[in-house]
Amino acid sequence: MQHPNRLWIVYLARAALFAAAVVMAVAPMLLATRDIAILTEFLSLLTIAIMWNLLAGYADIVSVGQHAFVGVGAYALFGFAAIAHVDPYLAIPLSALVALVVALPVMVIIFRLRTAYLAVGSWVVAETIMLAAGKLSAFGGGSGISLPVSVVRGFGSRVTERYATIYWIAFAVAALALVATWLLMRSRIGLGLTAMRDNEEGAGVVGVNLIGLRVLCFLWTAPFLGLAGAVITLQKLRVSPPASFSIIDWTVYVIFIVVIGGIGSFEGPIIGTVVFFLIREYLSEIGVWHFIILGVLSIAVVLIEPRGLWGLVRRLLPADVIPISRRRRVRR
């Protein structure tokens, strides 16, 4: 290795990551309600960012319609919990299932397209699903509807208790997304995806099933996006087409996050989400400017280092902070 002396930085970063995970696991016992709410949003956005990175960064499916699955998850949660009176805790995994089911026909449509056509196609499909959701009168039509108090109570009768419960659900969803996707990347599938990221034609001729992996990635991301949608709904306590299917919140910001953090790396979306929240929390008083800062930062990153902030840092480090290569384990 070129930089054996810098290995301690990698170990330090791993320790910091572990410490952050531990703190986050017990955050409701440490932090004020306002901060817990922000952390809940952080975890939802992190989940969505991990998924968009998998699609766009590895499988070359540059979709700008993934917010559709967040919205579908949101509406499914409302449908099960408020209309069908299913146990609200059961409604959460069911919303993942609904997102997965909706992903099947969507996939059939957008996989006929490539590159820019796929981007436009995915956006059109997402718009259509949102418009359809706005026609559902049981879901408040175009203006949306609040979760009934009885459902909300299910997550805690006092406000602080409810915030903590929803936070832990968001934590569980993000942890599941992170760990499951990490395991995926360490499997033979991840090896193929990384090869595909680097050279599609080269991957094809060494036996990597490009279509199979694309299908798998698309179907992998949908239920996690549905879960994120369910968590977001629990936090906002209502569904509505423009908020639940927000292209700005669940796609545009997510693209900024992944691009700034580092597309096509496991660490990228994590770093990007942290940077995004720092900018949002500390620069939000300057209003729309923080949006412009994000845009300029993304463009700067793309021009200077297409692999994002993580790409810059990774050049100085001898190893990944979250190792994906299994070679050391299989060697013996």
Partner: protein, 237 residues
């Protein structure tokens, strides 16, 4: 083993392959010659499924494969190198070859790791195995192309100009690698401009020109053919 009949590939008005026929028998080392732009690389692209043929039939071990995807053909036993290397730049050299062994040969991680190690040893890349492929020199990238193709465990191996730029000693090493591969009963089709290398390895030569093979047979016969000397050797010298 490989049977091409009436194979054509047109890029718009450009007829790169034009009703070409070729038979490759098991155990052969077929050398393919032809001037620049003759369509040699394109021929490999059609055989491996990078391009769909405009017309004609491709049979591999008796099966029609002309509509199969590139990864299906790889798993069926066709390995290839690219003239312009296509490394997985962000992965280590070892993981590049491991990917081929896992996906191309369908091996478990454990067996694939052993296969990758052996293949890197064979191709002289063992000392580079922990480097990122993006950091390799062109020569090493060509070795990596060979290593990836071999790690797929092919029965038919298509080599596209892997001897260019080698010193005499390196060329000797390459030829001994090819001998090892032949001992593993791998059939080889080798596109090469480095004639002396090709002559010492090939059991048969074929010359591509104008979208078809204009000569095909024993190396001495083909090289002595006046048409071949005209279109190919004349063009090179």
């Amino acid at each position: 083993m490989l049977d091409l009949t009436g194979l054509s590939l047109h890029f718009g008005a450009l007829r790169v392959l034009d009703g070409l026929d070729l038979k490759v028998e098991r155990g052969e080392v077929l050398g393919v010659l032809g001037p620049n732009g003759a369509g040699k690389t394109t021929l490999f692209n059609v055989i491996t499924g990078v391009h769909r043929p405009t017309a004609g039939e491709i049979r591999f071990e008796g099966r029609v494969i002309g509509r199969q995807r590139s990864w299906t053909r790889c798993r069926a036993g066709i390995g290839r190198t690219f003239q312009v290397p296509k490394p997985f730049t962000g992965m280590t050299v070892f993981d590049n070859v491991l990917t081929a062994a896992v996906h191309g040969a369908g091996l478990s991680f454990r067996t694939a790791a052993r296969r990758a190690g052996e293949t890197l040893e064979l191709t002289g890349l063992a000392s580079r195995s922990e480097l990122e492929a993006g950091a390799l020199s062109l020569l090493d990238l060509k070795r990596l192309e060979l290593a990836k193709a071999v790690a797929c465990g092919p029965r038919l191996l298509l080599l596209d100009e892997i001897a260019g730029g080698l010193t005499d000693r390196e060329c000797g090493t390459l030829l001994s690698i090819l001998t090892t591969l032949r001992e593993r009963e791998i059939t080889i089709v080798w596109i090469e401009h480095v004639l002396h290398a090709l002559k010492s390895a090939a059991t048969r030569l074929a010359v591509l020109h104008g979208g078809r093979f204009i000569a095909d047979g024993a190396p001495e016969t083909v090289l002595a053919d006046p048409t071949v000397q005209d279109v190919y050797l004349g063009a090179v010298d």
